[in-house]
Symmetry: C2
Subunit: 201 residues, 2 copies
DNA sequence: CGCACAACTGGTCATCTGGACAGTTGTGAG
DNA sequence: CTCACAACTGTCCAGATGACCAGTTGTGCG
C-alpha cells in the first residue's frame, strides 16, 4: 500500500503492516455477532478486516483456531468490573454499568453467547468460558459480602444467572428498556439480606 | 423399503411414508443442537432423518424455511407450564419441573437458544421468539399474582430472566447441580413479597 | 545496502453445499 | 384396477469453502 489511499473508497482502511492479525480477530467478532458462526469463513473475515484471505491460514492455521483466539480476544476486551464502585458494598453500584456496557459493545456480547453455545460442541473452548463465569461469580461473591450479604453458592449462581439472562434478552430481543428497572428490582430483593439500609426510598 | 429391515443396520430406521417431513423437523433440531447451525445442511439433516436430501427442498423449499418450521416445531413440543401446580400460587411449585425438563430435552433447549441468537439476524424469526417469551411472562405474572406477589413488569422480567439464565447455564455449562438450589433461593427471595407464609422452614 | 525473517497476497484445488429436477414409488378414491 | 397426486429418490451443477502454497513486500538489524 504505497500512496493509494485516495483510490481506496472502501469504508474500512487496510490495517497497517503487522496489524493484520489483530484486525482479523476484531473482524471475526463482528462477523459472528452480526451474521452468525455459519458465515464466518476465511473470505468473510478477511473482507471485513480488509486483508487477503490467505492471511487467516497464515496467522491462525485453521478456522477453529481463529475462533479460539477470537474468544480470548473478545473476553480480554470486555471483562470489566461488575460494580461501578468495586469493593464498596454499595448495592446501588452493583451491575450499574451493565446496560451501557451492552449498548456500547453489542458485538462482543452476542459473539460470546454464540461461542458459549459453541463450547458445548468444542470442549477446547470450555476452559475459557468456565474461567470467565468463575471470575465473575467470585467478583460477585466479594461484592455481596462487602454489602453484608451471606453469599453462598446458590445465591451467587442465581444472581449471576439473572444478570446473564437480562443481558441475553437485551442482546437478543433488543429490550433495554426493562433491563435497568429489573436490575433495580434485583437490588431491592438483595437489600433485605444485607446488613445495611442506606437507601432512604 | 420393502422387507429389508434386517439389512438396515443403521441406528435409525427410515420414517414411514408420509412421515418424512416430521422426521426432518426433529432431525433439524437435533443437528443444530448437537453440531450448531453451521452444520445444518440439506445432507446432514437428511442423513439424520434417514431420507434423501432432496426431500428437504421438496417439503421446505429452502434451508431458511426449514429452520423457521423447526423453530415452530420445537416450541410446540417444549412449551409447558412454568408451575407444577398451575394457578395454585404455591411458590414451591413454581419452576419446580425446570431442571428435569431441561435434562429430558437438552436438544430443544439448545436449539432454541441457537435460534434466539439467529433471530437477531433473521427478523422473520422474531415474532415466534417474542411470542414465547411473552407467553411465559404472562404465565409467570399469573402465578406470582396467585401467590399474592405484586407482579409488575420489572419483577416479571427479572424473574424470567433469572430462570432463563439458569437454564442457559445448565444447557451450556452442564451444571445442573446448582440449578435446583438456585431456584430454591429464588423462591426464598420471592416469598417475603407474597401474602403467604406457608413454608414452615 | 544486503540479508533473514515475518507479514502479506491471491491463485489453486478437492470437497462441500443449496437447490433444481426428472424419474420412481406410495396412497387413496372412484 | 386405474388414475391423480403427493412423497420420495438421487443425479446434476454452479458456486462457495478450508486450507495450502509460491511469490511478493515490509521491517529491522548488522
Amino acid at each position: 500500500m504505497t500512496g493509494t489511499q485516495t483510490a481506496a473508497v472502501t469504508a474500512r482502511s487496510a490495517p497497517g503492516y503487522g496489524e493484520g492479525r489483530q484486525a482479523l480477530l476484531a473482524a471475526a467478532v463482528h462477523v459472528v455477532a452480526t451474521r452468525g458462526l455459519r458465515h464466518l469463513t476465511y473470505r468473510s473475515v478477511a473482507q471485513q478486516a480488509n486483508v487477503a484471505h490467505g492471511l487467516v491460514a497464515h496467522h491462525f492455521g485453521t478456522r477453529d483456531a481463529l475462533l479460539a483466539a477470537a474468544l480470548e480476544f473478545s473476553l480480554a476486551n470486555s471483562v470489566g468490573s461488575i460494580s461501578t464502585e468495586p469493593g464498596s458494598g454499595d448495592l446501588d453500584a452493583l451491575f450499574a454499568g451493565v446496560v451501557d456496557m451492552v449498548r456500547a459493545n453489542p458485538d462482543d456480547q452476542a459473539f460470546q453467547y454464540e461461542l458459549i453455545l459453541e463450547a458445548r460442541r468444542r470442549p477446547e473452548l470450555r476452559p475459557q468460558v468456565e474461567q470467565v463465569y468463575a471470575t465473575y461469580r467470585e467478583a460477585l461473591r466479594s461484592e455481596l459480602q462487602a454489602a453484608g450479604v451471606e453469599a453462598d453458592d446458590a445465591l451467587v449462581h442465581l444472581v449471576f444467572a439473572a444478570v446473564d439472562g437480562l443481558v441475553f434478552q437485551q442482546v437478543c430481543l433488543d429490550e433495554p428498556a426493562l433491563t435497568l428497572p429489573s436490575l433495580e428490582r434485583l437490588r431491592d430483593l438483595l437489600r433485605p439480606l444485607s446488613g445495611r439500609s442506606v437507601r432512604a426510598d
